[in-house]
Amino acid sequence: MKKQLLIFPSIVFFFILLVFFYLLIIDRDPTELPSVLIEKKAPRFEAESLLDDKKFISTEEFANKTVIVNFFATWCKPCREEHPYIKRLSNTKGIKIIGINYKDNPQRTIKWLKELGNPYSNIAIDSNGQIGIDWGVYGLPETFVVNAEGIIKYRHVGPITKKVYNNFYSKVIANRE
């Protein structure tokens, strides 16, 4: 009886080992946080618009159409890396892409967009990072999918690369009217 009991700790040990091994091999980023804003209304804000003299008013932008909201900056290297994929997303019918230029230099951003192409229908300037805080942004780039009712349906932290593009695209299509 006593000897049989001795097997028990080793079984527990192997079970723990298995769990750790599983967590090691699955594709996950432990620093990635779930957004608390999922299924909630997109935060309202007003800001300067980078592309024209009119004010950027969020309630006018988030209406009747699925919107991809992309927080980006020219100082952010992964943003440059994901830019071709943002451009590819902009070809999707029935959606529009809004850029939020996070703590950046407007002149530099305009130059950056001239060089790489502009997939955004409008760009809000977040000069002090306040819009970012309201959206729970903690690292650039971050991209949100907001449906036609103005509800946040999905958030992706980090660049949209070849690896994650299809998954992200499927989330966009699923929330398109």
Partner: protein, 140 residues
């Protein structure tokens, strides 16, 4: 000789472990004029996680987002918001993860009380074992 040496090492280790480290990242221009408000902002900042470094509070972190949040907290303190209002503002945007001390909720119930349950189980097993071994002792 060895005994005094190991004792002094132990004392040094304990002093290091329990000494209050004062590594702050608050920059001079961030300080509030009103020391009472500054202290309040300070205490809140110590319980707010820096989401970039994740194991530091924003009070200790030099990350730009931590600085933004420190300034935001100070602004809210100045405007007269209560501690709970400020925590709510932050958790509404970043979730409970932003608090270094998880709040007591139904979902975190296990987190708070499981250690006590394990302690009770441990005490039970120990006393049970103790009783059993006592029985085995031959009577003299």
């Amino acid at each position: 000789m060895i005994k005094t040496f190991s004792l002094s090492v132990l004392i040094i280790v304990i002093t290091i472990l329990f000494s209050k480290t004062t590594i702050y990242s608050v920059e001079p221009e961030e300080f509030l004029q009103n020391s009472k408000q500054e202290l309040k902002a300070r205490n809140i900042s110590k319980n707010v996680r820096c989401l970039v470094c994740q194991n530091q509070s924003i009070d200790e972190s030099a990350a730009p987002l931590a600085k933004d949040l420190r300034i935001l907290i100070r602004k809210k303190v100045k405007e007269g918001h209560t501690e709970n209002e400020i925590y709510k503002f932050l958790t509404d945007r970043y979730g409970d993860f932003i608090l270094l001390k998880p709040p007591l909720k139904r979902i975190t119930f296990m987190l708070w009380f499981l250690p006590f349950v394990f302690l009770a189980i441990g005490i039970f097993i120990l006393s049970w074992h103790h009783k059993k071994s006592k029985k085995k002792l031959p009577h003299i």
